[in-house]
Symmetry: C3
Subunit: 307 residues, 3 copies
């Protein structure tokens, strides 16, 4: 359609572009003051058709720390949507006011649709169960920053691997890097979809195994990526009772893990990581949220072609 760059799917980015963003994020972390006025006078519109405080705050803080301004709504009730305005009209109008748009929408594909009508870059901040590319960027920056690079790790991914979009994106993204091994930890009902297994892991020759219990493999992991398992997802009560504790990370399990393993989580967490783990230096999920802000700063700068 046009030459404007957007970020809709994490796989939209070439490895080169990805490295560029991660490198820029790293530089921002080291020299935040050099970036603090770059977007003075620019406007980021945050269009949240479903609420997500954490993601919205992360984008807004990122924009503010670049010197820019925010225009937006945090839920559809306070928007013209309730008057029946189409997404395409909203995007056309907002893109005359704002320099860049971050949007979250319950409907899959809506961010992609928005790019057709927008005269400014669109960042997909989550479209239903589909994509959430800045979470994937966050995960990659966190791993790269805390483990030095994105290669050669044993990565455990634990929880609901069937429906978890962040997990699918992470597997796709990490499969582009060398020498990683993946251990998939989930109840049988919630293993990764067949297309991820076939088209990503097998096709890209990524060594992987699938197991049911976290305690059986935690000692082998360099990185543990936790997600939630909801009770409703289980086929029967019996399985749930037998397995539920395997998907709760506590200090007892942590005691079996490597000294330099890192624990990540896309947040919000409910009870899948016990609060006692928060004090463990290997618990990096709050640090991860902070990286999320820096990677969004880098992304905004790249899409606006300021850096």
């Amino acid at each position: 359609m046009n030459n404007i760059k957007h970020l809709i799917d994490p796989m939209d980015l070439s490895i080169m572009e990805l490295e560029d963003i991660l490198g820029l994020a790293n530089d921002i972390m080291k020299n935040p003051k050099e970036y603090s006025h770059l977007l003075s006078g620019k406007i980021l519109a945050t269009l949240f058709y479903e609420p997500s405080t954490r993601t919205r705050f992360s984008f807004e803080a990122a924009m503010m720390k670049l010197g820019g301004n925010i225009l937006g709504f945090s839920e559809p009730n306070s928007s013209s949507v309730s008057k029946g305005e189409s997404l395409s009209d909203t995007i056309k109008i907002v893109s005359t006011y704002a320099d860049i748009i971050a949007m979250r929408h319950p409907k899959e594909g809506s961010a992609k649709v928005a790019t057709i009508y927008s005269s400014v870059p669109i960042i997909n901040a989550g479209d239903g169960g589909h994509q959430h590319p800045t979470q994937t960027l966050t995960d990659l920056l966190t791993i790269k920053s805390l483990k030095e690079n994105l290669e050669g790790h044993v990565i455990g991914i634990c929880g609901d691997l069937k429906f978890g979009r962040t997990v699918h994106s992470l597997i796709k993204a990490i499969s582009r890097y060398k020498n990683n091994k993946i251990i998939l930890i989930s109840p049988e009902e919630l293993t990764i979809p067949q297309y991820i297994r076939d088209e990503i892991l097998i096709k890209e020759n990524i060594p992987f195994i699938e197991v049911e219990r976290l305690e059986d493999v935690i000692d082998k992991l360099d990185i543990l990526y936790m997600t939630r398992v909801q009770k409703e997802r289980f086929f029967n009560e019996e399985d749930y009772i037998r397995l539920k504790d395997s998907y709760i990370l506590d200090q007892s399990k942590m005691s079996k893990a490597k000294k330099d393993m890192i624990v990540l989580h896309p947040l919000p967490r409910v009870n899948e990581i016990a609060q006692e783990v928060d004090k463990d230096p290997r618990a990096c999920y709050f640090k991860q949220a902070e990286y999320g802000m820096y990677v969004r700063m880098a992304l905004i700068l790249k899409l606006l072609e300021v850096r």
Copy 2:
């Protein structure tokens, strides 16, 4: 009461003041950077007692592009209103925090009431079905910018002319300029109110005709101002079926129009302009939304007496 300037009714402005605002808006469009820090440290309060994302965004973007800050709420639920605080008390307090207030309220006359209690300028951003003066300023700036001046045009106004407040204000405003002809296009049930016909059009000697079908007159128009016709407004189903297509602008009708006609719409639109028209260079309603931001920038500067 005092010497503070407000904008409550579009007719509050003399032609001179109006020209001044339109001229300033024009200069801002040409040299936006010269204006980008003028209101640094100033605060605009956007008090939206009913939601209107487009209008709110337009005001907020205007203020930001002048270097100012925003304080506000986008719906009454998140405001003290739910605690029973009177409008007068809210205005008194907010005017100690903010330098200027834009307010939208479902009740007619409420913006006028607010001026009694405010120590800073009030801009009426819509009070029920009553007034919406910045929409009228937007319409005038759009016509002036795209058709060079506000005189000598054949202006078609189409849709619900009975209840449409933007239409009433536009007729009043345009009747102050010379040599315009107005063609009013509406179903019989929705023709303009008698007082507009008598006290504006006839009194000011504005040539006008009233017709029922857009296709009969579209070839004569320099400007076509579209608004929506809601099914509920018709007296009977039969009339509705007979006429509804006359109030939907599509490429078939556009093919009969002049090559330099411009199509305007206050937005949001539902289906009264087919999406296929958006690509026609004569479709200027999104451009119009952009002019809306610039005219609000000019208005804010004038009311604050910065320019």
Copy 3:
């Protein structure tokens, strides 16, 4: 836990710290321009788990007038709270984005809990019926500014003295200063709690009397602090009818008061002060709201150790 300063309870502050804040607020009022860029690049998060426009606006305006930015939500519906995220996790994450947090929460003690998890200063902007320390700072700054000092006054406190948290805090705060006399004016059902009488007034040797009718004592007051009395609080209809007019301040009562008495109210008011009183120069409650903004500016600067 750590060395970060918070403000949870007004009594957290020593008299010295309090004087420091009031002095700084006074200087800001005199030289606002000198402070207008001090917090450029800093972020205040306003986390309002229950709506309070006036308090939120006061904090946000304060931050903006120091050159800072705002991140926040104005009601829990548009926050991650609805997804079940714990307060502790929200605070941990927000404190990685923001430099300081103002939070209002319906649950008593929640601001205190937040300090455990926050890496930045927390300001309690109201926790249930418990504390609202910036209101107390506002009251003190108002009295000091309008009556020159905080000593030697006859202070009438009128209305619901049983449940009104601002009243309890004010009594505690003012009892630290010399030579004040307090006249408590309330229906018998709504007198101050025993612990305030015993542990503050009697223990600190503050002269005080308790009366039922405002008109009996208004001529003796230097300061009249009004609060609302809700009908539901009365034991019986008869008492309510007999007393209700005693808790409504009107010009008839004002005519008996000293020429230099000042009337304060934490706002919002409903009908406990008749609108006719607003024009009386002794009506200082809107001025008080303005002082509230300046004292918050001073507090933010102190907590961030900028001044």
